[in-house]
């Protein structure tokens, strides 16, 4: 007689994909706007991107109820920080806070797959990528969500530096310009939409640079 398992789950997956690319003096964060459950679409116009500080923007896919709760916790903690330190949190500081917040719920996790993008203290672009329980790493680019397995290999092909095992050591590839990075993101989402049923409808792109923050939208396939 096998043990009776729960037939109700507190989690649901609302699908979607998120991408972030860091440049020399900018950061591009993008996500699609489709929210779905099972084979149904809940809405075609849901933003998965949230601006945590002037210099950091988070995109999260997964269970949007948990994502919303996570965003609320982070913005409350940021407000407290601002009151106590009389300044905004830096992007690396926010990255650590996000990791700690996720690990705090290690045994009932936030079903959220996050990428955090922004500008570090020197003004260079930075991207941090997370798993559901807070393990994080600073990287040059990352993808999360239902289309991540389709997107990451292409980004690796276009952006990845040569193998560090090579001798003599080779330089990283020529860094992308801001327009090239935005172009790359558009292509990557158009391709992911073709093959992933949970990605589509509209693409929201947020660009962070020294002059501030900018938003762009692009239509994706709606089928």
């Amino acid at each position: 007689m096998t043990k009776q398992h729960a037939n109700w789950s507190p989690y649901d997956n609302n699908g979607g994909s998120c991408v972030a690319i860091a440049g020399a003096d900018y950061c591009v964060i993008a996500a699609d706007t489709r929210m779905s459950t099972g084979y149904n679409i809940l809405t075609r116009d849901y933003s998965k991107i949230s601006q945590l500080t002037d210099k950091s923007v988070m995109a999260s896919s997964g269970f949007q109820a948990d994502v919303k709760a996570l965003q609320k916790v982070l913005s409350a903690r940021h407000l407290i920080y601002q009151h106590q330190h009389n300044k905004q949190m830096s992007c690396p500081a926010m990255a650590q806070l996000l990791s700690n917040t996720l690990y705090y719920k290690r045994f009932f996790p936030y079903y959220a797959f996050n990428v955090l993008g922004g500008l570090d203290n020197e003004g260079k672009g930075c991207v941090f990528t997370y798993d559901a329980v807070g393990s994080y790493e600073r990287v040059g680019y990352s993808a999360q969500g239902s289309g991540s397995t389709l997107i990451m290999p292409f980004l690796d092909n276009q952006l990845k530096s040569p193998s560090p095992l090579l001798l003599p050591a080779k330089d990283a590839v020529t860094p992308l310009s801001e327009t090239e990075a935005v172009d790359l993101v558009k292509t990557v989402f158009a391709s992911a939409t073709e093959r992933d049923i949970y990605t589509g409808d509209k693409l929201e792109i947020v660009i962070l640079n020294a002059s501030g923050i900018r938003r762009e939208y692009m239509d994706l396939r709606r089928d």
Binding site: Y39, T187, D223
Partner: protein, 271 residues
Amino acid sequence: MSSSLDLPPKGEFSFDLCRRNAMLESKGLKAPTFLKTGTTIVGLVFQDGVILGADTRATEGPIVADKNCEKIHYMAPNIYCCGAGTAADTEAVTDMVSSQLQLHRYHTGRESRVVTALTLLKKHLFNYQGHVSAALVLGGVDITGPHLHTIYPHGSTDTLPFATMGSGSLAAMSVFESKYKESLSRDEGIQLVVEAISAGIFNDLGSGSNVDVCVITKGHKDYLRNHLLPNPRTYVNPKGFTFPKKTEVLSTKITPLKEVEVIEGDAMEIA
């Protein structure tokens, strides 16, 4: 020499491996997934015959395996069949019955009837007790008139003036229930079928890409493959992409084979 797996006399499914599969799954092995056509398929009867419609997306879980597959299968010159469910099953069962119908035509010297295809399909599916996962919309025009049927994986059938099947069937049926009426003209019928399939394409994640339509009338059929293409790719980088990076060579080691000595001797012994 007796085999460890003796097939049942009729060549039906042998379930001997089910215990072993269950044991493997309990040990953590993931079973291979089937290619399903999460689908929208429809059929309706109009003034002069029947019209069948289908989307063109085939999915493997959350991934689109085929963006433009054909779900309207040929059964006979006057009979076509839309298929939803496991792609291999719909393909195999429609091919098989199509062949049987052709042999029957040679035997009888007459045009095939839709009820013949219906009976052959439902008998086969019932025999396999639902394990052949094929949900079909069968339509055609024969000497007795236009016919439209739905066939479920377990072998039950319905005869209807309009029908939808697949994961997008609810979206499509909502269109049919609102707008269907008797004695539609050809253009009205095609328009309604296109609207129903489009509802499935845009509202069901298991359906997508293009609309296929097939119009069957007395003595004539129109197979309109990709009748509508409402989903073009939204963005192509005009500059294109280059892939200059080859696989990096980390190290090279060449071992020359030593000189091979050829000795004249006896031929190999084969027991």
